[in-house]
């Protein structure tokens, strides 16, 4: 199987884009934390693999208030944003363990398909709340669009980077197990912008991360916002928790995040 696979190691972002082409039949390997077990266990047999480890996409650029994260940036490096974007740094620290955070990439975390046994894509939460813009290429060419739209059509696209503005305040709250190698059961991220807008998003849902717009509309009343959040999401049962449990804990996390945002203001 491995011998028949065309494996490409682009050495620049431009080369990665050229080799990705229209994305047809291409398996993108970021840090390998998700793709490699699929190959090892025979669930995936790539015909063409694009390994991004040398593509120069592991960048973290801060220019004034604008932050750009390359798709190949290791999750561990988000700790560098602890002062400016606390929710994103906290969320990153909540991903798996030290070694996995060194290997896993922002792009892999955002682009991986939904997990069968546990939710994936922790970083979707804070980056949705930050209203990040995703720059990607695919069969219809290059595009820059809100992360929310990108997530809905990410299959078959190569993510290059995500960009957002530093918030005035941000907060993160999660329900997870006290276990060595944990997946996040449910998490809520919140952002307060310089203009006073509050944005909320959740992960640990059925499907990918979701903006909590009903909760945002009621953000001045945390109790009401927490209750409203349930209407914004689709909850499922999986190996970690039931939809019943998630429905009861989501309002708690929303209240915690709004409370922390209020304290930070």
């Amino acid at each position: 199987m491995t011998q028949a696979t065309e494996v490409l190691f682009p050495t620049s972002a431009d080369e990665a884009v050229a080799q990705f082409g229209d994305g047809s039949g291409v398996t993108v390997v970021g840090g390998g934390t998700i793709v490699m077990p699929e190959i090892t266990y025979g669930r995936l047999a790539p015909t063409k693999a694009l390994v991004l480890s040398r593509a120069g996409l592991d960048t973290l650029d801060v220019s004034g208030a604008t932050v750009t994260l390359g798709a190949g940036l290791p999750v561990a490096r988000l700790a560098e944003l602890a002062q400016d974007v606390k929710a994103l740094a906290q969320c990153a620290l909540n991903v798996a363990d030290y070694e996995i955070r060194l290997q896993a990439t922002v792009g892999g975390n955002l682009c991986a398909g939904e997990g069968q046994d546990a939710p994936r894509g922790d970083l979707q939460g804070p980056l949705l709340a930050l209203d990040a813009q995703a720059r990607s290429v695919g069969a219809d060419g290059a595009s820059t669009e809100p992360l929310e739209e990108f997530l809905g059509r990410r299959a078959g696209r190569l993510l290059l980077d995500v960009t957002f503005e530093k918030p005035a305040a941000s907060a993160f709250a999660a329900i997870d197990y006290a276990h060595t190698h944990e997946y996040t059961v449910l998490a809520v991220s919140g952002v307060r912008t310089a203009s006073g807008e509050t944005r909320l998003a959740a992960t640990g849902l059925a499907g990918f991360g979701t903006r909590l717009r009903s909760a945002e509309a009621a953000a001045s009343d945390p109790e009401r916002a927490g209750a409203a959040a349930v209407a914004d999401v689709s909850l499922g049962d999986d190996a970690l928790a039931s939809a019943w449990y998630r429905e009861r804990t989501l309002p708690v996390l929303v209240r915690r995040v709004l409370g922390e945002l209020e304290e930070s203001a």
Binding site: I100, Q103, H181
Partner: protein, 170 residues
């Protein structure tokens, strides 16, 4: 492609999507990294790649052309064990031994980045490593001892040195 493992450079013949774990164990005969879960969750395959700990089971070897890999064999030699290896021996920090090399590699990386004997910090550093014998207390004891700069008498274990007579014939 080539790979330097514990100071010795090898030409690698496996395909670029072969895992580093398979290359180490099957092609190069370096067997301290263990094939546990092979999906990144157990930590038993952890090795140091260019100074940072990585899961060998998650790493396509083609991404490592020219890299330097250290396994637990590279931490010391039987006649000159590293302080961490001495500590694991003295503190009896291995039972079945399956997790031990991954634990040692993670602990070595923790100590090299300035880790202290704070037990919570050690737990966090070893959080990706599962010991199915549940021997965590002695593993943490061993790492903390190295962080403190303890020296180790390998003719006795810490347990036997500290054993007290509980009132009967023991």
């Amino acid at each position: 492609m080539n790979l330097t493992v514990n100071g010795r450079t090898h030409d690698v013949e496996s395909g670029p999507l072969a895992t580093l774990l398979d290359v180490l164990r099957e092609e190069l005969g370096v067997t301290s990294p263990k094939a546990g879960c092979e999906q990144g969750g157990c930590g038993a395959c952890t090795v140091i790649v260019d100074g940072e700990p990585q899961r060998a089971c998650l790493t396509p070897v083609g991404a490592l052309d020219g890299a330097s890999v250290t396994t637990v064999e590279g931490l010391g030699a039987p006649e000159s064990l590293s302080p961490l290896q001495q500590a694991f021996t003295h503190h009896y920090a291995a039972q079945c031994g399956f997790c031990t090399s991954g634990m040692m590699i993670a602990a070595d990386a923790y100590l090299k980045r300035g880790g202290t004997d704070d037990r919570e910090a050690i737990q966090e550093a070893l959080a990706g490593h599962v010991c199915r014998c549940t021997g965590y207390v002695k593993i943490i004891d061993a790492v903390a001892a190295v962080a403190r700069g303890d020296s180790f008498d390998l003719t006795v274990t810490a347990a036997s040195a500290g054993m007290t007579n509980l009132g009967g014939d023991v």
